[in-house]
């Protein structure tokens, strides 16, 4: 029998049982829709968290010290162990171009003139090369030891009149202490520059660790007669600005003395794997050797140095999201299974109910494969209809969901194709046994069947 004739006949019997066919496909519709909606939301969530990035910080190795058992993203369980001296020593090593700390500053707002904008966790003290030259749209990198800042467009555009290079900004720290910085550069995007920050878009401002984090350590004396804001902060006792240099601390002994960084960045000379591995090896061997300040804090064995590139960190994050998504899709797939059992059940009922019709068809010359094809076609048509409607419903749900939680909408098209294929397969598999049963019906028994 020709496929088209088969299809037409199959459609006749599906259309002949409208309600039953509708209820049967409903199982598949819900299953496919659930899979597609969850996959879409998962992909959108991933895009929302990770952003649309191709990391251009490939030379950077991000490091921190954490309990080896800690699970999670960058800086999970990290403790401050690396000192200024360690960073200076790391920079001396061959295979390492630069090494600097990274520390979020406890700011609460940023102001220019009368215009004040809240900035909770968007200020970071770090090394000059953290903001890569490629990423700067106008101006230059900040310099260590200077009250300079590089801001991203989200900060620059946040005030009544746009901030431009050369303008002064006042940073307001938690506790009310203020410092003035000069904007020397503006980046080209508002996305995060490293996995430490996360990759999403938000207002960010970058300043040198000296004087904003570690400055007090080495340059405290010079700072005092430096600019007035620095003087002011010194006078306030540096209560909330990190990098304080309390005389009491100094007497605590060497291990705990001085500024310690929770997060460091080590730059390899190039992005190729060998250079990255060498930089990691150099950094690890130094930090774990007795020569480093960090080693004293690592000695207990409860902390271990973690050194990773952003690609590695990103893939870890994606692994976690992927795991979550697989779990949800697994749950949705179960509903697809239920849907296919529904089709199989209805097809079996249908075969029994139509035993006599099968007998008639065979009596007038229908071969086994004709009967098989007919019932299989019915199941496949049900599966395909379910898959198509389910896909439409799933895409719509994914769209609404992404709108609702305000995520960038990403349709993972390969999954959509997969869902439709699964619908067809569900039809084939659930129809196979009933169709086989129908095909081997003995015509004389079937004709006698009441």
């Amino acid at each position: 029998m020709k496929p088209l004739a088969l299809l037409r006949l199959a459609w006749r019997s599906i259309a002949g049982h409208r309600l039953r066919s509708a209820l049967t496909t409903l199982g598949v519709i819900i299953g496919v829709a659930a899979v597609i909606a969850f996959v879409t939301l998962g992909a959108s969530l991933q895009a929302g968290i990770v952003g649309d990035i191709s990391p251009d910080d490939q030379r950077n190795v991000y490091g921190w010290a954490a309990d080896p058992g800690t699970e999670g993203g960058p800086l999970a369980g990290a403790q401050p162990v690396v000192s200024e001296a360690d960073l200076a020593a790391l920079e001396e090593r061959s295979g390492i171009d630069a090494a600097y700390g990274y520390a979020p500053l406890g700011t609460q707002a940023v102001a220019t003139g009368d215009s004040v904008v809240p900035l909770g966790d968007g200020a970071f003290a770090t090394g000059p090369t953290y903001v890569r030259e490629d990423d700067i749209a106008t101006g230059r990198q900040f310099e260590q030891g200077e009250p300079e800042a590089v801001v991203n467009p989200a900060v620059a555009g946040a005030f009544e009149s746009n901030v431009s290079v050369g303008d002064e900004l006042t940073l307001v720290f938690q506790g009310g202490e203020t410092r003035t910085v000069t904007v020397v550069g503006i980046t080209d995007t508002s996305e995060g520059l490293s996995p430490f920050e996360g990759f999403g878009q938000s207002p960010r401002l970058y300043v040198p660790t000296d004087p904003f984090y570690a400055g007090a350590d080495s340059a405290a004396d010079e700072e005092t007669d430096g600019n007035e804001s620095a003087e002011e902060s010194e006078a306030d006792g540096n209560a909330s600005a990190p990098g304080e240099d309390d005389p009491g601390n100094e007497s605590d002994g060497e291990a705990a003395a001085g500024t310690r960084y929770t997060a460091i960045v080590v730059e390899a000379p190039s992005a190729d794997d060998a250079a990255i591995d060498r930089a990691k090896e150099q950094a690890r061997s130094y930090l774990e050797s007795d020569a480093s300040d960090a080693s004293a804090l690592l000695a207990s064995g409860e902390l271990e140095i973690v050194l990773q590139t952003s690609t590695q960190l990103l893939s870890q994050l994606q692994d976690i999201l992927g795991l979550l998504q697989n779990f949800i899709v697994g749950v949705a797939a179960i509903s697809l299974l239920v849907g296919s059992i529904g089709i199989a059940n209805i097809m079996l009922v249908s075969v029994t109910e139509r035993t006599r019709e099968i007998g008639i068809m065979k009596a007038v010359g229908a071969q086994n494969r004709d009967v098989l094809g007919l019932f299989l076609m019915e199941a496949i048509v049900l599966g395909v209809i379910g898959a198509i409607l389910g896909t439409a419903l799933g895409l719509a749900t994914g769209y609404l969901g992404a709108q609702y939680i305000d995520l960038p909408l990403v349709y993972p098209l390969e999954y959509v194709a997969l869902a439709i294929a699964v619908g067809v397969l569900v039809g084939v598999f659930s129809g196979l046994y009933p169709a086989w049963k129908a095909a081997r019906t003995d015509p004389i028994d079937a004709l006698r069947y009441e």
């Binding site: 007038v364 010359g365 229908a366």
Partner: protein, 276 residues
């Protein structure tokens, strides 16, 4: 196949059902249907007429004995080949019509061609032509439940003829027909007979059976006697010339008595219509 070869040969065919007691639906039937012959079967209800038709129609398999169709022993054929025989060699008119309830008259008639991969236009044209010949051109788009018993029977007949079968088997084809329609159907049979089709027709009615060349009388699954009719077209009066074989000559002489006996047995049945 040689033209001399008979269309159907039955050799000591038995069909036994093992129920609470053993039922011999067919109890050693040997019969030959020469190519192009026109044979009627008569017998009381339960005598095995339908069983015989099913066996010849390759729907049922005998418990014992041989069924040869077009020179091929049916028991040696594969399921596929048997289905092929049913599809194109044999046209079967069922006692209970066996129409597809959800298909229209036209689709029912066209269905056997569907399984022979005939295109839709050709199929419908052929089906329409046959419906016209059985007088149902105006009912082509009706479903079986919208048709009378006689109309359904005619749809079933049209379906049996659609693939131009060499052998037509009809189980009580006139049971539900009024005199006029019945005459039309019998004329159609005559037409097919003239065209060389082998016909085997079961009937309760003597005048229907008398349109054939001979009548096979069944009783309790056995052939009671075979009655040769010389003037098949009229079916009236005793044969003008005595047949050569011994049993048929008896038959010839007892013709009127035999027919009376037949009617007698038939009238004992509560239901003269198709048994269900």
């Amino acid at each position: 196949m040689a033209p001399s070869e008979p269309a159907v040969t039955l050799d000591d065919v038995r069909k036994t059902y093992q129920l609470a007691e053993t039922v011999h639906a067919l109890d050693g039937v040997s019969l030959t249907l020469p190519r192009g012959s026109y044979t009627a079967i008569m017998g009381p209800s339960g005598s095995g007429k339908s069983t015989l038709m099913n066996v010849i129609g390759c729907l049922d398999t005998p418990t014992e004995g041989r069924v040869v169709i077009d020179g091929a022993d049916v028991s040696t054929l594969s399921g596929r080949e048997r289905t092929r025989l049913r599809g194109i060699e044999i046209g079967f008119v069922f006692q209970t019509f066996n129409l597809m309830p959800r298909l229209t008259a036209l689709e029912n008639v066209a269905m056997p061609q569907l399984f022979q991969n005939v295109g839709r236009t050709d199929r419908n044209e052929r089906a329409r032509d046959l419906l016209d010949r059985v007088g149902l051109a105006d009912r082509a788009d009706h479903r079986p439940n919208e048709l009378s018993g006689g109309q359904r029977q005619r749809v079933a007949l049209a379906r049996a003829l659609v693939n131009d079968p060499a052998i037509v088997l009809a189980d009580e084809p006139s049971g539900n027909l009024d005199t006029e329609t019945e005459a039309g159907i019998l004329d159609l049979f005559a037409e097919f007979h003239d065209a060389g089709t082998t016909l085997l027709v079961v009937s309760h009615e003597r005048h229907v059976a008398e349109r054939a060349e001979r009548i096979v009388h069944l009783l309790d699954g056995k052939i009671e006697r075979i009655e040769a009719l010389n003037d098949a077209r009229n079916g009236s009066g005793p044969p003008s010339a005595g047949p050569d074989g011994t049993p048929p000559s008896t038959v010839g002489r007892d013709e009127h008595g035999g027919s009376a006996t037949d009617r007698g047995t038939d009238q004992e049945e509560p239901d003269r219509g198709p048994d269900r």
